[in-house]
Symmetry: D2
Subunit: 413 residues, 4 copies
């Protein structure tokens, strides 16, 4: 319980979500692992399909969709960022759970973009099936040949040619592209290489079955292929899409990216906090059972310190993230950009430290397939890189702070 | 701005307090330093006496006093822990400021004890002059010969003898005892050495001019004597006080100590956060002015990282502390004991890291008398020891967490 | 160059080994990856077989074998621990390189055990083919159901029955057992459960084709299966081996384990330092090529700090490890046990920090199959667990220090 | 014992020095504290004067002086940097001990400069009395108004005027200037402001009783004034000295500074390691005596970890420093500049961590005058700033590493 438990609706949803996790998610972790490791790794998992209607029936579907995008409550729960944050943490405790609730990345961000910036036709064709959980989507931004931490480096081209755009480029870390149901990607590239830096890029919808789109290889993350979703390196060679696939307009790619970022970071960070809580629970459980040198591991002060450190770090990271969500809800993403940058640094690092301590308490089991810890570590580690490395966000925090002090020049020394 | 800005009253007080600091405190820092270093170091500072009536007039007096102790608003502001926390941070920005508002330790804790547990006579004699800022008080608990982190180690004796108690023992770190106006101390010692461990100790009021009380020497903290308050080592040899000086009753020392701890920790931690904010401001200011290798220090990424790290750590520590205050207000000190223990570990360590970074940015000036940083560091360092070392509080955090998980046994693995 | 470059022979070997690495190992890294990922993952790699005779011809074979075990120079180079340490670092730069030189774990430790404690018959049957690189071997110690950090926890049984011993137990992390050429394991288990704690365990040679030996499953490390060597969980059910397979005698398992540990730790640590050096080189190379925000990554102070930190940590870890090797050579493993414990804590942690920084500089490529970094990280992470977790070794360091001070009681306070 | 125990002469000196410390230094720590705190704080300490002849008799005088400067052994021991390093550690265990052996900063650096670059007249006038311990000296480089981490910032002027130079400038952190026997300072300032950056500065000998030299105030370090040596802020206003006081020649200030730096850093770092060893000893002693929660502090795993961490960090820092000394002896200061920069970062940080842990074990006594720990901390903290902040040296380490890799371009990726 924290000061952030303000909305009865949010509390109610949290309780129902936890109950669903206890009934349908945790008991199925082994079965999901079995399904992934049986037969073709790149097939959709049947169990997920079974669980999705149950989540819909339970009213736990599309919880991520913010009020402005919920079409008068027709879609989504219309929760504030703060309200959704607590739910995101719970779903994040099991890596495959968010999909069951149609709340998994990058679909959530893509649905938001389509909801805010899509034409009615684009929404009909892509948003509705996504909201219904019938298809999945990808986001093609990062490129292998440049430092994408500096988004102006992106080299792919989107060139107008009559009624079409012609797309060329090489993208990687296109997450989710391994899933056969992933049929559409939001693609970022340059429409106007000569324009001012932040007006060069556009975003356009690219069907993944369009001629010229090639799934070149799947990337691994610390040895994991993350099947069946996976992370693809993809080639786009003279790919033609109708000009109507453009999102918002030429040169507005950065503008869309900015709007997409804030909520996505809250989601990522709260899921990481869910992972960290899970790791802490696993640590305490193991430590209460294993015996070394004549006492349980809980009897060793070293382990108790690991538990205490983890609790203190998680609580701080959660409060920081929820406060950022609250700021977004009250003063807007732009005014909250320092807070949003801060959680992007803090949450992955806290999760990594907590998971690492849990691994250490488990010993060999901790790095193996016998616990979810090693996979959690690998995923959390990528979040110190994905969507900008730590240092880029730290620079934003510093910039905001320096600016704030400049304004507050009358402050005492 | 955070989610904790809930009360208009608290917001109003914060603004008025900041204005008072800007008008009367910051501009007088040099003068206070001058008064301390001129003549007898152990005299009360005239400037503090001049400022106190101004604080009273401004309605910024005894802000610490909680509703239950404010005597229907006659004394104190009746603020919740959460409301007061934000004010405590502001006062904490300058080490001598809290006294101006009659909000300095250990007086605040002593006034609370007297307010909650004192007899009408004890209150008349000691509480009223303390609330009026006419006298000051001390707290005599820690002993030089034992590890006081384990409070059951305390060896001093309080022995009934007719209408009196006879007190013997050696105490140190009796802070504030250097001030000539410090005339009374709350003294902890054993009344019943054979009783169950937590019923052995009592607290009693001991006038510092009682025969047998000796101020043996003043302790230094990293070279600072902290005059004119100071930290005394004191001998108590066959000191007689009337039996009516006993607080609450024999054997109830631990009970009083427990009640005293929660708010005191919030205060200490929020003052530390105020110190850390101050250090961060100083760091940014210096970095914007000094030039090295052809650019200002702000132009060096290393310094910007120090700023970002500091901002992220401070914000987390503040949220954790405010959340602990909120828990105390809503579920009570006992249920919030894990949160209270956590801030006692987190806040001093965060403050030390931030201050240390500021020192590094200042170079030689940072360790000297030319900035408040070195003194801030020394004070913050003692708070990793005072009122229990880090490890003792980390053990509490671990214990609460392990207990919580034991209850939540149905949680998934 | 360090003070440890004392032996011309060691310098000469180092140069020749580096030349071999440059000619035969680094250029073949991609080919090895290809061979592993083509066809049956659990087949011996042809390229390794091609390179082994070249290493033999180059006089870079069995370099690990210490003087006492080299049979008058017939086998091995007869190098001191200090001399071999520097070579071990070079081989460790590529994870599959040590096998090319017949210097890979756990064969090296097993060969040493057989060389020091084996009977002539045991040596003829197992040591000679191992020294010739014709077979490989495993070490079966850790068990899944107990905290093996406390070696007295080991539960497997070795029971005398006529001319045989009957072996029962469950072992895991039997590294190398995936390789079809791995035909023999040194197995640790209890012969005398009622004896004094350190006399309960024995070590015995168990052929892996003996009836009752089952390879139950292969464990993953993060997502890596480490094919074709791998880490097996193995069942031993009523396995019969001739009584002559016992090593040294019943109840002497701990004694053998002790003798085995020292050199093995030097090897592991120096290989880790080799990995860290490799990671640092990769970091500098990438940083010199990638451009972000208008300059190469080397132009960002943050990256230069990562380089400097890495250099300072690696140099310290290397000196500590070489000094431990020197102590083993001069005062013996027992007197050097504090130093040996220290490197087991320091080296993996330093390697992890350096590799992690390199990953961060690489971004997405760093966690993928495009660099060796993620796999290096996974391997280094297990070395904070394998052969005892950090805390067990830290306890040894503390114990030695406390003992030393006890002896040095005349030291001043 | 380490690999560096190579010279019997060094071993012999170390034993004799340790014996002297045990007989004359440790037993007198309380008396020195008493003498400092009695009467005029800025008088030379009589006890030091008593001990100096004893050190001379014991052949433990001017040990710092390198072979090239020892005038055929007439002065100093002619020890290599590596040999002297171990002695420096021992002297460093007590802050006032080096002066007893005429090995204290900044005299040692000044004597080296005079020995290497002084004219016979300069040597006669200043070097001989310094070598005899009859006078003391200062070094005036850092200025309050500029970032002296960038030495080109130095603003003071040295202007030729006939047979004199006229000196103007403001200096601070002129350490040792509080001592009445401190009669001469080496002063750095600009002779040729228009010259190439590294040829602008010169060094000149300035008697402290010259008209125009003012000791403006003494700086504190944390709260310590470090009497009777102290750290002065000094004004130089139209100070005239004979042109013969110039050292080496106009424009050669940087050249002298460079030569002075290497040995000085070894000395500082080894003294810090001595301090850290002392702190570790104190920590173990206290932990073996104090009881908390039913066992000695050594019985708490947390404390044992503090001991182990300290031992591991100290040993690494010592090996790094001794290796740097060895490199200086064998390949020269310039080739060893990366190693020299590294120890300047590592040693103070290690010392601070170890001392901080010791303070925590001591509790209140640790920050007070009852142990040397708080003063040790304050002194070590300044060494993260003095002679360049950490980041400046880290940049050097990075630069050397990047250069090394550039050269070693044939290294594998």
């Amino acid at each position: 319980m924290t000061v952030f438990d303000v909305s009865p609706r949010s509390t109610d949803l949290r309780e129902r979500l936890s109950a669903f996790m206890a009934e349908h998610i945790y008991p199925n972790e082994a079965e999901i692992a079995r399904q992934i490791n049986t037969g073709d790794r790149w097939q959709h998992l049947p169990l997920i399909d079974e669980l999705k209607p149950r989540a819909q029936e339970a009213g736990l579907w599309n919880l991520f969709l913010p009020p402005a995008s919920s079409r008068d409550g027709k879609y989504g729960a219309g929760l504030s960022n703060l309200e959704y944050a607590g739910l995101c943490e719970i779903m994040g405790r099991v890596w495959w759970a968010p999909e069951v609730f149609n709340c998994s990345a990058p679909d959530t961000g893509n649905m938001e973009v389509l909801s805010r910036y899509g034409t009615p036709e684009q929404q009909e064709q892509w948003l509705i099936p996504l909201l219904n959980g019938e298809i999945r989507s990808a986001f093609s931004m990062t490129e292998p040949d440049v430092a994408s931490s500096d988004a102006t480096n992106i080299q792919s081209s989107i060139t107008r040619d009559g009624e079409d755009y012609v797309i060329n480029g090489e993208k990687w870390w296109t997450s989710g592209a391994g899933d056969p149901r992933c049929v559409i990607s939001i693609f970022m590239g340059k429409t106007e290489p000569q324009a001012e830096r932040h007006l060069q890029q556009s975003m356009i919808l690219v069907p993944l079955d369009a001629p010229g789109v090639t799934k070149e290889r799947m990337l691994t993350v610390f040895g994991y292929d993350d099947a069946p979703h996976g992370h693809a390196q993809m080639g786009f060679k003279d790919v033609r899409v109708p000009a109507t696939n453009m999102l918002l307009g030429e040169g507005r790619g950065f503008e869309i990216a900015q709007g997409r970022l804030g909520p996505g970071r809250i989601h990522h960070c709260m899921r990481l906090i869910g992972q960290a809580e899970r790791a802490l629970e696993l640590m305490v459980q193991r430590a209460s059972q294993r015996v070394a040198f004549g006492k349980t591991l809980l009897g060793h002060q070293h382990v108790r310190e690991a538990i205490a450190e983890s609790r203190m770090e998680i609580d701080q990271a959660r409060l920081l993230t929820m406060n950022a969500a609250h700021m977004m809800d009250t003063v807007g993403n732009k005014a909250a950009r320092g807070q949003i940058a801060a959680i992007k640094v803090v949450a992955p690092n806290v999760a990594l430290r907590v998971i690492d301590r849990a691994i250490q308490v488990y010993g060999g089991a901790g790095v193996s397939q016998d616990t979810p810890l090693a996979m959690m570590y690998a995923q959390a580690r990528t979040l110190r890189l994905a969507d900008g490395p730590d240092i880029v966000h730290a620079e934003t925090v510093a910039k905001v702070e320096i600016g704030r002090q400049g304004v507050g020049g009358s402050r005492s020394a």
